[in-house]
């Protein structure tokens, strides 16, 4: 019998690499005991509640151990910085074209940004050694991409923002999976 998948994934994504295995093991053990005593539904409800109420503390623990800070620093350097540099470059290019300064970027510029983000996030994902670290990298890439879009100088269409925020973690996870399969 397995605990609820979404709660399990959330736990793995939020708990530090050092803690995740022990916390997940403890919750799994108690989940099985609860299922035997009170049924699967009660066990699942208890598991979800434990994960949701523990997330903030586990995340704080992860930051305290330095792991989350390393991940965020890597994602900011690899994903947010290139995005911001490209934004500045396009701003410079536009400022040199009469009457174009301050206008929305053309789709081609956004595609270049997206490809660049995917490539950088893929490099990050390929460096992860464990599933847990890969999930952490993916979350950090998504946060870094959001941060860069928020700091960007141009008006950001929702579709483009969504594509960037989704493409960064997905490409990092795909590269990790591809590297693992080889």
């Amino acid at each position: 019998m397995k605990p609820p998948a979404v709660a399990r994934l959330l736990l793995i994504a939020m708990a530090g690499e050092h803690q995740a295995e022990f916390v997940a093991g403890d919750l799994h053990e108690e989940f099985l005991l609860l299922c035997a005593a009170r049924g699967r539904q009660a066990g699942s409800r208890w598991y979800r509640s434990q994960v949701l109420r523990s997330v903030a503390m586990l995340l704080a623990l992860r930051f305290r151990s330095g792991e989350a800070l390393h991940l965020m620093a890597a994602a900011i350097l690899a994903v947010a910085m290139p995005l911001l540099l490209l934004d500045r470059l396009w701003r410079f290019v536009y400022s040199n074209i009469p009457l174009k300064d301050g206008l929305q970027r053309a789709p081609e510029f956004r595609i270049v940004n997206l490809v660049c983000v995917c490539a950088c996030a893929a490099v990050c994902g390929s460096l992860a050694h464990t599933v847990h670290r890969a999930v952490g990298v993916a979350v950090a890439c998504a946060v870094a991409a959001t941060f860069a879009l928020w700091l960007g100088s141009s008006i950001t269409p929702i579709l483009y923002a969504g594509a960037v925020i989704l493409a960064a973690p997905v490409s990092s996870l795909i590269t990790f999976a591809w590297r693992k399969s080889r």
């Binding site: 397995k2 022990f22 093991g25 403890d26 799994h28 434990q50 109420r53 523990s54 503390m57 586990l58």
Partner: protein, 112 residues
């Protein structure tokens, strides 16, 4: 013990739970022990955050055991009190006992 390193209330409870459980002191059992004895709804996150802090302070030591099927193939991390930890518990107990001295319980005027 330097200032700021005295045991907090929850830390004290966790230390006592580890002491009671002896060789069986790991996250889930510590959580259950506190929940059963105090009636508090304790989360595993709170227990781990406290255990980790106590390990950092040198009051607890941790050992990792082999993975087992009932834990979904995951390892277990057990905790024991160090010498410094035992001193801290002794001191905390002494502090509480000396503060309680001369007081009568239950206090009148409370809701219970």
């Amino acid at each position: 013990m330097p200032k700021g390193e005295a045991l907090g209330e929850f830390e004290y409870l966790v230390m006592l739970a580890v002491l009671r459980l002896a060789a069986d002191a790991y996250g889930m059992r510590v959580r259950q022990e506190i929940a059963t004895r105090t009636g508090r709804d304790v989360t595993i996150g709170a227990v781990y955050a406290t255990l980790e802090r106590l390990v950092d302070k040198g009051l607890l030591s941790a050992a990792i055991s082999d993975p087992t099927p009932e834990r979904g193939g995951r390892a277990k991390r057990s905790f024991t009190l160090t010498g410094v930890g035992m001193d801290a518990v002794n001191r905390a107990r002494q502090d509480v006992a000396s503060m309680l001295e001369g007081l009568e319980f239950p206090l009148s005027g409370g809701s219970q």
